[in-house]
C-alpha cells in the first residue's frame, strides 16, 4: 500500500520531472515517481543500510549529508527537490532549505504537525510529550530535532520570503481541509523562491 503522502507528492509532480529526494530513505518515493511519473530521480540518504535498500529498488542514491552535500549542485538543476519527513531531522534547517530552494525550481516539504489536536490533548491534559501517527516516536528515540506546527512553518516561509505555491494536509489515510493546524497530522507544502 502506498502511503498517502507519497500519493499526494506523486500527484503534485508533473510526468518526466527531474527530482532530487533529500533524505530519501529506502527509495520508496523515488521508485514510485520513477514508475508512475517517469521521473528522472536521484536521492541523498545518510544511512547506508537505507541507501543499499534504495539501490535494491532500482533508484539512484548517493549516501551523503544534507548539511554538506548540496553546495555542488547548480542553480535550479531540478524541477522538484523533495524534503519529505526529513527537514525536521536536520540540524541547520535554514541552510538546507536555502540550498533546496536554490537548486530546485520547486521544493516539496512534508512535515509532521506537532500541534494537531491529539498532540495538544496529550500535552495539555495528560502532561505528556505527544505520540501521534505522524509523530510515532518517544522523546528518547525520536530522530526529529525540531518540533513545529503547520502554522509555524507558514510563518517561517513568510519571514524567509518563500512563496507557498500549494499546501495539502492529511490525517492518516485522508486529506483534510478545515483548520489544518488543528486537525492535520502532517502537511505537504510546495515552495518556490
Amino acid at each position: 500500500m502506498i502511503s498517502l503522502d507519497y500519493e499526494i507528492i506523486a500527484d503534485i509532480i508533473e510526468p518526466g520531472a527531474k527530482v532530487l529526494d533529500l533524505g530519501c530513505g529506502d527509495g520508496a518515493l523515488l521508485a514510485l515517481l520513477k514508475e508512475k511519473k517517469k521521473c528522472r530521480g536521484t536521492g541523498i540518504e545518510i544511512d547506508v543500510k537505507e541507501a543499499v535498500r534504495a539501490m535494491e529498488r532500482g533508484v539512484s542514491v548517493a549516501q551523503g549529508d544534507l548539511g554538506r552535500d548540496l553546495e555542488v549542485y547548480g542553480e535550479k538543476r531540478f524541477d522538484y527537490v523533495i524534503l519529505n519527513e526529513s527537514l525536521q531531522q536536520v540540524l541547520d534547517i535554514e541552510k538546507v532549505l536555502d540550498a533546496a530552494l536554490r537548486i530546485g525550481k520547486h521544493v516539496i516539504v512534508g512535515i509532521p504537525n506537532f500541534c494537531q489536536f491529539g498532540a495538544r490533548f496529550q500535552l495539555f491534559f495528560l502532561g505528556r510529550v505527544p505520540v501521534t501517527g505522524a509523530l510515532p516516536f518517544k522523546w528518547y528515540n525520536t530522530p526529529n530535532l525540531r518540533f513545529l506546527s503547520l502554522k509555524d512553518f507558514r510563518f517561517f516561509c513568510l519571514e524567509k520570503g518563500v512563496t507557498i505555491e500549494k499546501a495539502r494536509y492529511l490525517v492518516q489515510r485522508k486529506e483534510v481541509w478545515f483548520f489544518p493546524n488543528l486537525f492535520a497530522e502532517a502537511g505537504i507544502f510546495v515552495l518556490r523562491k
Binding site: 543499499v52 532500482g58 555542488v72
Partner: protein, 373 residues
C-alpha cells in the same frame, strides 16, 4: 579446455605513443573473457584488475582455479556472466601475460628490465581500448574496478566518454596523495636497495627476493585495518608459549607478513612492482591544473562509487570528492560507504553488500537504458 588456453593473447599492430612521449611496441595483451557477447554487442563489461591482479577474475568452470573476484563474477553473480560479456585484460607493465619489464625485448631477445618504458594509468587504458577495438566492441555497458582498477575505470570515463555507459569505481581515488606515494616509495626502496636487484637486470639470477618480500609486507599492512589485524592476530604468539626476549619472531602477525612476503615473491616480478606503483603514483586526473569538476565535464557515463569505512589507504573522503565533482556536472552518481573493518582489502574479500549493490546497480543501468530506447 585446460586453464592455460583460457588466457587469450593479442599482439597489437604498430606501436603506442605513451604519456611520457616514448613510442613503444609491439605490445601483447593477455585477457580472459566470460559469458557471450550478444548480437548487438551491447552487453560488454570491462573489469580492470588492481595492482598485483591478473586477467583471471573468476574461474571458467567448476574445478578451475578461483579468480581474484570469484564471488563477484560468474553465472548468477553480481557480474552475471549469463547476461554480460565480461572481459578482463592484464594491465600493461604487469607480469601476467601482457607486456611488461619481464617480457622479451625483440631487439635483444632478453627481458626488457629497466629498458621497459615508464607507463601510466592512461597508457594501461589506451592498450585496453586497442584490445576492444580489435574485438569490434564499441560500447561498454560498464567499466568496473577497485583500487588501481578503479583508477582505470575513472580514466576510461574521461578518455572515452562516448563508449562507456556506466562506471563502477571502488575503493579508489582520482589522484594519489603524498601519503599514498610515500607508502609506495618504501616498497620501491626495499626492492631497489636489495643487492640482488642489479638495476633491474636480475632475470635468470637470484633476483631481489628479500626486498620484494619486504615491499609486500608493507603493502599488506596498508591493505588491512587496525581492527582486522587485531581480530586476525591480536598478540598471539607464533611457535612459542611465551615471549622469547630475543630478536626472533614472537608474534603471529610477524609470521604472517613473512609468509605473505615470501609467497608474493613466487608470483610477482619485482620490476613490475616498481613500474605499477609508479603508474599509480603518477595518477592524477587534475594534473593539468583543472579542477576535478572540470575534468569530469565531458563524462557521459553513470557512476557507482563505493568506499569502505575502514579503508585508510583510500579513505572515503577521496570517494566523496569524486562524487561531488560528478554531481557538479549533473552526472548520475550512486554512492555508498559500506561498513567493513577489512580495510582496503574489503573490495576483494567483503562481499555481503558489495555484490548486492553492484548487481542492483547493473540491473538498473540496463533497465534505464532499455527504458530510453
Amino acid at each position: 579446455m585446460d586453464a592455460a588456453s583460457d588466457i587469450k593473447y593479442l599482439t597489437l599492430g604498430g606501436s603506442l605513443k605513451l604519456k611520457s612521449g616514448i613510442t613503444f611496441g609491439p605490445i601483447t595483451v593477455a585477457y580472459e573473457t566470460y559469458g557471450e557477447l550478444n548480437p548487438t554487442k551491447s552487453n560488454t563489461i570491462l573489469i580492470c584488475h588492481a595492482f598485483t591482479g591478473d586477467s583471471h577474475v573468476a574461474s571458467h568452470r567448476s574445478g578451475d582455479r578461483p579468480g581474484w573476484w570469484e564471488d563477484m563474477v560468474g553465472p548468477g553473480k553480481a557480474f552475471d556472466t549469463n547476461k554480460y560479456f565480461v572481459i578482463c585484460p592484464n594491465v600493461l607493465g604487469s607480469c601476467k601475460g601482457t607486456s611488461g619489464p619481464i617480457s622479451l625485448d625483440p631487439k635483444t631477445g632478453k627481458p626488457y628490465g629497466l629498458d621497459f618504458p615508464v607507463i601510466t594509468i592512461q597508457d594501461i587504458v589506451m592498450v585496453q581500448k586497442r584490445l576492444l577495438d580489435h574485438l569490434g566492441i564499441k560500447t561498454l555497458l560498464s567499466v568496473a574496478g577497485g583500487s588501481m582498477g578503479g583508477m582505470q575505470s575513472l580514466t576510461w570515463a574521461v578518455l572515452y566518454p562516448d563508449m562507456v555507459q556506466s562506471s563502477i569505481v571502488i575503493a579508489t581515488c582520482h589522484r594519489h596523495t603524498a601519503q599514498q606515494i610515500a607508502l609506495h616509495e618504501v616498497g620501491r626502496q626495499a626492492v631497489m636497495t636489495d643487492p640482488d636487484w642489479l638495476n633491474g637486470d636480475y632475470y635468470g639470477k637470484e633476483g631481489p627476493k628479500r626486498g620484494l618480500a619486504i615491499a609486500r609486507m608493507v603493502g599488506h599492512i596498508t591493505y588491512m585495518s587496525q581492527a582486522s589485524m587485531e581480530r586476525k592476530f591480536g598478540r598471539k604468539l607464533v611457535g612459542k608459549e611465551e615471549l622469547g626476549y630475543n630478536i626472533s619472531k614472537d608474534f603471529e602477525v610477524e609470521g604472517y607478513l613473512e609468509y605473505r612476503g615470501q609467497s608474493f615473491v613466487e608470483r610477482f616480478d619485482a620490476n613490475s612492482y616498481l613500474y605499477l606503483t609508479k603508474a599509480m603514483d603518477y595518477f592524477d586526473l587534475t594534473e593539468d591544473g583543472q579542477s576535478l569538476a572540470d575534468v569530469f565535464q565531458g563524462v557521459r557515463s553513470d557512476f557507482l562509487v563505493i568506499s569502505f569505512t575502514s579503508d585508510w589507504l583510500y579513505p572515503s573522503e577521496q570517494s566523496r570528492t569524486m562524487v561531488r565533482a560528478l554531481k557538479a556536472n549533473d552526472v548520475g552518481v550512486s554512492y555508498v560507504e559500506l561498513d567493513s573493518d577489512y580495510g582496503h582489502d574489503a573490495f576483494l574479500i567483503d562481499f555481503g553488500d558489495q555484490t548486492k549493490v553492484v548487481a542492483n546497480y547493473l540491473a538498473r543501468v540496463q533497465n534505464d537504458k532499455a527504458g530510453r530506447t
